[in-house]
C-alpha cells in the first residue's frame, strides 16, 4: 500500500460558522484505492468536512488537494466534473423522480447533449440518451435494484433509497466516493450487506472510498485507516487497531466504559 498516490489531501483546513469552529486546522490524506473512515461524535465536523471537499462550503483557511491540485475554489458542479461523488447523511435523492432519472442525473459530467439537439432530436442526442439509460439500468442491476427503475425514488424502501443514492454517486464514475453514514438507520443485517457492498465497489471498480460512519462494526470491519475528529480537530489517526487502543479516542468518543471493555478484549487476544 505504500506505493499508493494520495488522491485527496486536506492541508490545515478550517471552517467557522459565525464564531463556532466546525473544522479546525484539519490535516488529512486519502491514499488511492483505499477505504478511509472519519469517525467522531455528533457535531464533530465530519459532514462539514465533506461539504468543504465537495465545494458546498467555502473554507476559511487551508487547502484541499485532489491529485495534488487545489480544488478549494471550485464550485460543487466543477467538483462533480472532476469525478468526486458523495452521498448524504439524510438521504437526498430527487424523491419525485424515478430511480432511473436519479441515476441519469448522476451521469451529468459525462453527458454533453445540448438543448438545441434536444429540440431537433438529433441522432447524437438520441444515441447519448439511449446509451445513458442503458448504463443506468446496468448500474441498477449492479446495486441489486432491478425492477425499481421506473419507481419514484420516494416510494422505494429505505434500504433501497440508500443504495439508489450510492448508485447515483457511482453513475458519476467517481475516482473517489464520499459516503456519509451509509448504514444509518439500517439493521445489523443490512449494515453488513452495505459493508460488503462498499468493499466490492472498491475492489471491483477501484474507487477510493472516504467514509463517515457511526457503526463501529462497519468502520473497524472495512477501513484501512481511521481518522478521529472531535470538536473539529483531529485527535487521532491510524489503523483500526491503533484507534481502538488510543486512550484519547476512548475518552472522547468510544466512551470511558468502552475502555475497560476494550482492555479486556485486547487482553484476550
Amino acid at each position: 500500500m505504500t506505493e499508493n498516490n494520495i488522491i485527496l489531501a486536506s492541508k490545515t483546513v478550517s471552517k467557522n460558522f459565525g464564531g463556532l469552529v466546525a473544522v479546525s486546522e484539519f490535516d488529512f490524506e486519502v491514499p488511492e484505492h483505499s477505504i478511509v473512515s472519519i469517525i467522531g461524535p455528533n457535531g464533530a465536523g465530519k459532514t462539514t468536512f465533506f461539504n468543504c471537499v465537495t465545494g458546498f462550503y467555502a473554507i476559511d483557511q487551508g487547502d484541499i488537494l485532489f491529485y495534488g491540485e487545489s480544488i478549494t475554489s471550485k464550485s460543487p458542479d466543477q467538483i462533480a466534473q472532476l469525478h468526486i461523488a458523495r452521498t448524504y447523511q439524510n438521504i437526498r435523492l430527487f424523491s419525485n423522480m424515478t430511480a432511473i432519472e436519479n441515476i441519469l442525473l448522476g451521469m451529468e459530467p459525462d453527458l454533453h447533449s445540448h438543448w438545441y439537439g434536444a429540440i431537433l432530436n438529433t441522432p447524437g442526442t438520441r444515441a447519448e440518451e439511449e446509451h445513458a439509460v442503458e448504463e443506468a439500468r446496468r448500474l441498477l442491476k449492479y446495486m441489486g435494484l432491478v425492477g425499481s427503475g421506473d419507481l419514484l425514488a420516494r416510494n422505494l424502501p429505505y434500504g433501497d433509497q440508500r443504495r439508489l443514492e450510492i448508485a447515483r454517486a457511482l453513475a458519476n464514475q467517481p475516482r473517489i466516493l464520499l459516503l456519509d453514514e451509509p448504514t444509518a438507520g439500517m439493521n445489523p443485517q443490512e449494515s453488513t450487506e452495505t459493508m460488503r457492498l462498499i468493499q466490492r465497489i472498491r475492489d471491483d471498480l477501484g474507487i477510493t472510498i472516504l467514509l463517515i460512519e457511526h457503526d463501529m462494526r462497519v468502520v473497524m470491519g472495512i477501513s484501512e485507516r481511521v481518522t478521529v475528529l472531535d470538536y473539529g480537530a483531529k485527535i487521532a489517526e491510524g489503523t483500526t487497531e491503533e484507534i481502538q487502543r488510543n486512550p484519547q479516542v476512548i475518552e472522547a468518543y468510544l466512551g470511558r466504559g468502552a475502555a475497560t471493555g476494550l482492555e479486556t478484549t485486547s487482553a484476550d487476544s
Partner: protein, 559 residues
Amino acid sequence: MITKQSIQLRTPLRFGIIAGVVSVCASAIGLVVLFSERELIAGVITMGQILIFAPTAALAYIAARDHAEGQRGIALLYGSLTGVISGIPSALLILLASAVNLRQFMPNVSPALIEILSFGLPPVAGSLAFLAAMTAVGLIAASFSLLPSNIKRPIFNGLLWTFTIGLFSENISSRVRFFFGSEFNKLIFTGKALDPFVAALIFFLAAGLTVWQGRRQTTHTEPEGVSTSRKSRLRWMTYAGVVVTLLILPLLLGSYLSEVLNNVGLFILMGLGLNIVVGFAGLLDLGYVAFYAIGAYSMAVMTSQGPLGFGLSFWAALPFCVLMAAFAGLMLGIPVLRMRGDYLAIVTLAFGEIIRILVLSDLLKPVLGGAQGILKIPKPEIFGLVLKQPEQFYFVILAGVLIAWFVSWRLSKARLGRQWLAMQEDEDVAEAMGIRLVTTKLLAFSFGAAFSGLAGALLASKLTSIFPHSFKLEISINVLVLIIIGGLGSLPGVVIGALILVGLPELLREFAEYRLLMYGLLMIVMMLAKPEGFWPSQIMKRELHIDEESEMLSAEAGD
C-alpha cells in the same frame, strides 16, 4: 323538539352563516345584479339567482349528507335550518336598505338589487319571502342528498348541462343563427336565453344519456387488451381529428369567437413560457409581463408606420422580437441567479414594475411613445394577403402555440428538462451532480422570455397599436394563475387553464370587472383543494402529496 342526542345545531348554524355571508357578499359587491341580466332559461331563472342560492344549496346538501348520520328527518332539518339561517343576512339587508340609504356607502346595494332579492315585494314581505325561498332551497338540497345516487347523478348532470348551455346561450345562439338561420334559432332561444321547453328537453336528454351510460357500463365492460395496432390507429385518428379541428375552428366559430380564441392563444403562448420557468425550473417569476412588453414594443418599434417606427415587415421583425425578449430574460436572469423562492418572486415583480414605469415615463417617450403608445403597427402579410380578420390571424397564433408546445415538449423529455426538475427539487444536490445551475437557470429564463416575447410581438401586430397600460402586473398574475389552475409543469394544463381563465370570462363579458376577484378566490381554493391543478403533470401530482417525510430524517439524525 330536540329530543335525539345526535342533533347538532352547530353544523347548520355554521354552514348557514357561511352561506349567508357568501350570498350577501355576492349581492353587495354587485355580482348578483350584474348576473341577473343573464338569463339562463327565459323567464325562469337567471345567473344572479343561481349565485344567491348556490352556496346555500351546496352547504345544505353537505350538512344533510355528511352530518345527519343517515337519519332522514335530521337531514331535512339540517337542510332547512341551513337555508333559514343563510337567508337572514340578505333579509336584514333588504330591511336595512329600506330604512337607510345604503347606497351612499355601498354603491352596489341598489334598488335593483333589493328588487331582485325581495322578489319585487315590499320590504317586510320581501325579506320573509326571501327567507322562505332560502329555506326551500335548503330543504330541496337536503332532500336531494337523500336520493339514491343512480337518481342523483342523472338529475345533477341534467341540471349541469341545461345551465351550462343556458349560460352560453348568447354565443351558441349566434352560431345557430349563422348556420341554420334565424327561424330555427327562434325555436330554441327566446331573446338571449334558452326557451323553457328546450331547456326541459336538454335536461331530460342529458339525464337520459347519463342513465343510459350508467346501464351500458354495468352491462358491457370494455375488453381488456385492445390490440396495439388498433391502439396506434386510434391514436393517429385522434391526432388527425385534433389537427382538422384546429384548422377549421375559426370557420365554425366566426369572427367574435375567433377573436376570443386568439386571446386565449396568446395566453397559452405565455403560459407555455412561464410554465418552463415556474413549472419546470421552479423559479417563481412575477414580472413575466416585462417580456411580453418587450416583445410587443420591439415589434411596434420595428414595424410601425408611424413616426416612431422603422417600418419593417412583420416577418422580418418577428425573430428579432423573440431574440430581444430572450436576451432580456438572460439579462434579468443573471442578477437573480442566487435568489430563491419568495425573494425571487418579489424581485421579478419589481422588474416587471420597473419596465412598466420606464415605458410609461417621459424618459423613454421619444422612443416608446409614453402613455400615447405606438400606433399604426401593420398586420402580417402572407403572399400579399394581409391577415386582417381574426379568423386569419388565428393561424399565426396557432403556429406560434404549436412551436412553443413542441419546444416545451421536446425539452421536457430531454436532459435539460431533467436538469430543471432536479434543480426545482433540490438545488444543492443538483449542483453536486455536476449541473451548472447558472446555465440551467438562464436557459429557463430565456426560453420563458422568448415565448412571452413571441406572444407580445403577436399582440402588437394583432392590435395594431399598443399602450403601456396593457402590460400591468395583472397579466403576470393572470398567466401564473392559469398555469397553476391547469397544473404546474403540464402542457395540456396550460391550454385548459387559459380556456378557463381567459376564454370563459370573455364569453361572460359582464364578468370583466370581477375577473380578478374570481382569480383570487380560484387561487386560494385551488391551493387548498387541488394544488396540482386540473390536468396535473406527473411530477406535481407526486410532489404535492408528500407529507412530512423530509422532517423525519432531520428529527432522527443530526451531525
